[in-house]
């Protein structure tokens, strides 16, 4: 795990007049969870075997096409729901990172917005997907703090994924009288060129807790003493 020191941070959805968010120091997994990791978890916790998980905690895509035989340990785990990811982290004495913790590391000092990096991130969105290939851990980008694969590999679950209140581009969001949202923090987007971040927020708001996806995985975090 990598130790992330305490710091203040202006996340993407923060309005100009709002104070920055304080990120208390924490530990985050260097790499996302692999298929081998998850296979070991299921072996110890059979209630998370596909046939034992109720539909409300994982939809029919749970573990679909995932090779759980422990031959390699460098294929990233996907097709897991938020409930499954939470259970995995809890079993390790950890938790999922919060949205702000994740975004803080992923955009530390705006490393993701540097033209070359941003191009590589955007080109991941443009690459077509092969359903039967597992993506290799380590094939994504490395952050300045030494955390791998936050970009260019998969989307990742966060603990409060459902705090993202963006629906479309400008439909309900900027209208403060909108029926869909209470409160003022609907996504306005401080930097419209940072489309990659915009897409992450949009992706999270399309999810429900039991959803699974071919490009959706996770990593864990922990309090730092």
């Amino acid at each position: 795990m990598v130790l992330i020191p305490s710091n203040s941070f202006r996340p993407f959805d923060l309005k100009k007049e709002q104070k920055p968010v304080f990120i208390k120091k924490f530990l985050i997994d260097t790499y996302p969870i692999s298929t081998a990791d998850f296979a070991a978890f299921i072996a110890k916790h059979p209630q998370w075997k596909k046939e034992n998980v109720p539909a409300i905690k994982a939809d029919t895509g749970y573990l679909k096409n995932v090779d759980l035989s422990p031959r390699q340990n460098n294929i990233v785990m996907t097709q897991v729901s938020w409930y499954a990811a939470r259970a995995y982290c809890a079993a390790e004495g950890k938790r999922l990172p919060t949205l702000y913790e994740w975004e803080y590391v992923a955009t530390f000092n705006k490393w993701d917005a540097r033209p070359q990096t941003n191009e590589r991130i955007l080109s991941w969105f443009g690459k077509p997907n092969a359903m039967h290939e597992g993506a290799l851990i380590g094939s994504g980008l490395v952050s300045p703090q030494g955390v791998h694969d936050l970009h260019g590999l998969i989307w990742e679950w966060v603990d409060d994924f459902n705090s993202s209140t963006v629906t479309g581009d400008s439909r309900a969001d900027t209208d403060s009288e909108s029926n869909l949202f209470c409160g003022a923090t609907t996504l306005s987007g401080s930097d419209l060129r940072n489309y990659a971040t915009y897409m992450r927020y949009g992706m999270r708001s399309s999810l429900k807790g039991n959803y699974t996806g071919h490009n959706l995985g996770f990593r864990c975090a922990k309090e730092a003493k």
Binding site: K127, W155, G168
Partner: protein, 464 residues
């Protein structure tokens, strides 16, 4: 007496079944340039529309690939046809291979986001919502997931027609054409899988402006076909994301225009009609004279240099009273007369060295530079652009051919016993490119063969 009762019994059963029979139908979707058939039912019904979003790699131009985000696997997405007053039940499914969530905003929908809020769909999931088509007209639909510009720029748009209650008048042929732009990392024509270029999109400087999702989608064997005498209707859409279109069919005048896709046939005798980004138009005209009619965006550099060109063919008896043989090229070149120079492309990094390499490279250059006028089989356009296929003029003098590619050509010439008096612009091609394209043309379509080298071209260039 028994027979009468038998019939009335049968009628009673038949009436009862039809009176509350299945009052819903599945919408017939059509991929451009096809249009779903005119609705032949009277009154309203519940229409089921099922649409899938899918991200896939496809051809944008010869040698150029792009990862399109699509409705229904094509750009543009399929056309939907319903009637004013219908209740539409819409299911949007996002293929599990998609990386992005998608949704749909149909401009025909009255309601928050045009359906966008209700249809945000994660990969591998489906969303359903319903709306009543309370307004007739021709409407654009598109994906409206943040960031909307990128989703539209990658190909997520199409048309939905809400027919007025009395339907539209009968015509012989209907076509679906949707213009849009593509912004790629590489320049127009640069081969390989091209990623989307955000900065070009923000600056509104596209590399490709095309009809129906790719260069050449309606040329060659994919040209639209009609007969002399046909009444034709075009449903024209503009997906944008940025540019407005000046829609024009060379050699035709629109007898009727439904401006901006509304329900009034409000203008007659229109040459060029504006189609707003995210908007539409309906145009109608009759084919009176046989020949090839070129469909363009009259912001003309988009047509010749970026791909906004399609072909409409009409076959049948000549009608010399209407068209005796006037040339169409003056329209292409605007002012006419002066020979234009088109800015040169930078030299390619890999030079063709062998005859085979020249032919292959020449074929590609022909497709991007020459095909617009000389057509994809070198057949040219009668009375406008001379043929290159089995061309006596070409084969007679290679040096002259090189000179034409270097400098352009004005003045009358005779090719295969036909007279042509057009203008060919100086294309500003490099020596390598001229050598390649000439070698290709000389070795294709029954021409005399042989090879032209960059040295031959350089020699001609310095002689002036």
């Amino acid at each position: 007496m028994d027979l009468k009762i038998f019939y009335s019994l049968g009628l009673a059963i038949a009436l009862s079944v039809t009176a509350c029979g299945v009052k819903e139908e599945k919408a017939i979707l059509a991929h451009a340039p096809e249009v779903p058939p005119q609705l032949n039912r009277s009154g309203n019904t519940k229409v089921i529309v099922e649409l899938e979003t899918k991200e896939l790699k496809g051809r944008l131009a010869d040698g150029v690939e792009y990862t399109f985000w699509t409705f229904g696997g094509t750009v543009p997405g399929p056309m939907i046809r319903v009637r004013e007053g219908d209740d539409v039940e819409f299911t949007l499914s996002n293929h599990p291979t998609s990386k992005m969530p998608h949704n749909i905003d149909l401009h025909a929908v009255t309601g928050p986001g045009g359906g966008a809020a209700a249809s945000l769909t994660s990969p591998g999931h489906s969303s359903k919502f319903s709306f009543k088509a309370i307004n007739a007209g021709l409407y654009v639909y598109h994906c409206a997931t943040a960031p909307v510009g990128m989703h539209i720029a990658n190909g997520m748009y199409g048309l939905i027609l809400v027919e007025p209650k009395d339907g539209l008048s009968k015509v012989d042929k209907e076509f679906y054409v949707m213009q849009s732009e593509f912004y790629t990392k590489g320049k127009n024509g640069e081969t390989g899988l091209q990623p989307f270029d955000m900065n070009k999109a923000l600056d509104e400087k596209p590399d490709y402006v095309v009809f129906n999702g790719s260069v050449g989608s309606m040329t060659g064997d994919k040209a639209l076909k009609t007969k002399v005498g046909d009444k034709v209707r075009f449903f024209v859409g503009n997906g944008g994301p940025n540019l407005v279109s000046s829609f024009h069919v060379i050699g035709e005048i629109f007898d009727h225009v439904y401006t901006e896709g509304g329900t009034e046939k409000n203008q007659k005798n229109v040459q060029t009609t504006l189609v707003p980004a995210g908007g539409s138009a309906i145009v109608e005209f009759k084919m009176d004279v046989p020949g090839n009619y070129v469909i363009v965006d009259h912001s003309i550099f988009r047509t010749f240099n970026k791909g906004a060109l399609g072909l409409l063919k009409a076959e049948g008896e000549a009608n010399t009273k209407i068209y005796s043989g006037k040339q169409a090229d003056t329209v292409y070149l605007g002012e006419g007369g002066a020979t234009q120079t088109i800015p040169a492309e930078k030299d390619k990094k890999v030079a063709a060295k062998t005859k085979e390499e020249r032919i292959a490279e020449g074929k590609r250059i022909y497709g991007t530079t020459c095909q617009a006028c000389h057509m994809n089989e070198g057949q040219g356009v009668p009375k406008a652009f001379p043929p290159l296929a089995k061309s006596d003029y070409l084969n007679a003098d290679k040096k002259r051919a090189i000179k034409i590619l270097l400098e352009g050509k004005t003045g009358a010439i005779t090719v295969n016993k036909e007279k042509y008096d057009s203008v060919m612009p100086a294309l500003g091609l490099s020596d390598e490119d001229i050598a390649s394209v000439l070698t290709y043309v000389l070795n294709t379509w029954g021409n005399s063969g042989g090879e032209v080298t960059p040295g031959d071209v350089a020699g001609q260039r310095s002689a002036h």
